[in-house]
Amino acid sequence: MKKPTLGVLALQGAVREHLQMVERCGARGIPVKYPPELHLCQGLIIPGGESTTMGRLMTTYGFLEEIRSLVAEGMPIYGTCAGMIMMARRLVEGDQPLLGVMDITVRRNAYGRQVDSFETDLVVREIEEAEKPFRAVFIRAPWIESVGPGVKVLAEFDGRAVLAVQGHMLVSAFHPELTGDDRIHRYFLRLVEERVAG
């Protein structure tokens, strides 16, 4: 099978780390700076960064509509941290531009400020070697406050959902791209391959 191409939205944030992860998993990674480039991708990653900044840039350059319609057609999408906020249908507080594609409610900066940022071992279901803990880095991280009926929670921390999937849409409150562990990226790649295989 031909290597799938995964786009990483490259407006702001930790783009390079995701591209490296994608390549490590054996897929092709391209930075996406303009909406037409989305059509070169079989899957899209919205990286961590500042969600307010990303939301404004996505609005200015017409990404919101374009991504919404591709995701509605079934393009797999994965959002980490700010990317998860962008994908949420609802925020607990605040009013900012969102993609709003996934049936989850998210609380921004849920754990507090940077001095409260942390790393910890998580149990993550459905990834390869799921019995091995996943080192998760939470940076001014959001959590998932509640999920709709079609959403499956794959990991919790302290009773809050922090990794979830809804069909071809995946979100994590933490940053797998900052650790050497590529199991969550591989999980996303499987979603992309299933879609490519039809």
């Binding site: 944030g13 500042e50 900044t53 790393e119 001014r140 900052l178 650790t179």
Partner: protein, 294 residues
């Protein structure tokens, strides 16, 4: 086990700021303008560098009430400055809960010999550097992010360019230096040997490197990005200009699309007057703040 303040958590926040603009603000209202324009973070100050320069005297950490008011006004990260070596100011900022501390030459140094031991803190630090040796010394002390110093408060980008070019040239040279020569390079640079080896092997700094000091226009921001900066700090350049909201927004767009000359032309249009700049030679070498710190 939950671990806070690890190096990965500290450097990680800087990674998330990449491709973004960090703006100096002195009031909650300015902070909201910055956030609205798309800033990835704000630097909370009592006065912007241009005013610090003009006022003279000793420049210190801002009043906590100024910083707290700004922290309440926005949801993006808030940074604040401490004097070089003033670890008690840093303890105070950590207690306030600021997201990043800038151990900054813009304030009057508190210690002529030593910078802060940044490993002692949970909050991450950003430090200025004019060359690779200085950057690696700061990283050795625990800085999780570097910014080239430029010459703050001048609206003149020439020093920022010099420092970015210097660091990048020194990195390039290291990548072709034979391993057995790295120890004497480390000695000459006054930089930790293991960090010198890391840079030689990886061809970049081990932490994010932003550009600062003198950026006043969208073109300045894009210039620094094309020269290899991971993002930019804009100090006096925004709120000392005629139309801060429009300029802030234009600099954000220029930083994202730094390689797209059409977009750069578009966003550079009609921004009103930029801040009045200063020629470096008029300032006099003894008054340059980039030589504070070592």
């Amino acid at each position: 086990m939950v671990e806070k303040g690890t190096l990965r958590v500290k450097t990680g926040l800087a990674e998330m700021l990449k491709g973004g603009v960090i703006m100096d603000v002195t009031t909650p209202e300015q902070a909201r303008i910055a956030e609205e324009a798309g800033a990835v973070a704000v630097m909370a100050l009592e006065r912007v560098p241009a005013d610090i320069r003009a006022a003279g005297g000793v420049a210190r950490m801002a009043d906590p009430s100024v910083i707290e008011a700004i922290m309440e006004a926005v949801t993006i990260p808030v940074m604040a400055k401490v004097r070089i070596g003033h670890f008690v100011e840093a303890q105070i900022l950590e207690a306030l809960g600021v997201d990043y501390i800038d151990e900054s030459e813009v304030l009057t140094p508190a210690d002529e010999k030593h910078h802060i031991d940044k490993w002692q803190f949970t909050v991450p630090f950003v430090c200025g550097a004019i060359n690779l040796g200085e950057a690696l010394r700061r990283i050795g002390e625990g800085a999780a992010m570097i910014r080239t110093k430029g010459e703050a408060g001048t609206g003149n980008v020439v020093e920022a360019v010099r420092h970015m070019r210097t660091i990048n040239e020194e990195i390039r040279r290291l990548t072709v230096t034979p391993k057995e020569e790295l120890m004497s390079v480390a000695k000459e640079m006054g930089a930790p040997y293991d960090l010198v080896c890391w840079v030689a092997e990886n061809g970049r700094l081990p932490v994010v490197n932003f550009s600062a000091g003198g950026i006043a226009t969208p073109a300045d921001a894009a210039l620094m990005m094309q020269l290899g900066a991971d993002g930019v700090f804009v100090g006096s350049g925004i709120f000392k200009s005629e139309d801060p909201a429009a300029r802030a927004r234009a600099i954000v767009l220029a930083t994202t699309h730094y390689n797209d000359s059409k977009i750069l032309a578009e966003v550079s249009r009609g921004l009103g007057k930029a801040m009045t700049g200063k020629e470096i030679s008029e300032i006099g070498r003894e008054n340059l703040i980039q030589f504070r710190g070592w």
